[in-house]
Symmetry: C2
Subunit: 122 residues, 2 copies
């Protein structure tokens, strides 16, 4: 598929898809005329990239991480270096803290919403 369809199907802008390619997160074949042609699996890949971005990982780290993923398609997976493992462990801990913070914030919001939504006392 071409970039427009991939953008539509993932909800990610064409601009971002091109950016992902520059950052080495996403590959594409090119037509004779130079237009990007994506494989079907690009859809899942893009969604994953977005999730990792949402988790606060920067593109550089995502680029290192992706080749080390256990790939259902059984691609030629690299094994993460010890340095990368250290970094990823730090990221994982950061994510755990972030989930904790989010849970707290969610409770705060929930409390305000509940309080405001309750019947007003006579």
């Amino acid at each position: 598929m071409r970039i427009g369809e991939l953008a539509r199907r993932t909800g990610v802008s064409e601009r971002s898809l091109r950016y992902y390619e520059v950052q080495g997160l996403l590959v594409s074949d090119r037509t004779a005329g130079g237009q990007r042609e994506y494989a079907e699996r690009a859809v899942d890949r893009v969604i994953l990239i977005q999730e990792l971005f949402a988790a606060g990982l920067h593109s550089k780290k995502i680029a290192e991480l992706l080749p080390c993923m256990r790939d259902p398609d059984g691609g030629p997976n690299e094994r993460a270096t010890p340095e990368l493992v250290t970094e990823l462990t730090a990221e994982r801990d950061r994510i755990d803290r972030m989930i904790g913070d989010l849970t707290t914030s969610r409770a705060v919001l929930d409390d305000v919403i509940t309080t405001a939504t309750r019947e007003l006392p006579a």
Copy 2:
């Protein structure tokens, strides 16, 4: 306490504390000479603000939210307007999605870490 101590105790930079004040998130008394003087409760307030920032809320929304919080000190709480409730509900949903994304990303990282850490097969 003055700004330096508050920064130290919360782990938030003085720069950010001043920014919070400009954004209407944090109030301070001033000494005769114009220096900020914070009450003890500012510590918890700052930590809460940080958590809300971490949850992706923008300062404007935090500024609206804070006066509507159920305050253990029983301050003069505002009741959230219906509009604000709508917005906060949207934020809560966003946070729920974010927690879902984070959980996915955490699993991805965990998988890579585990795979890389496992004993190498002979």
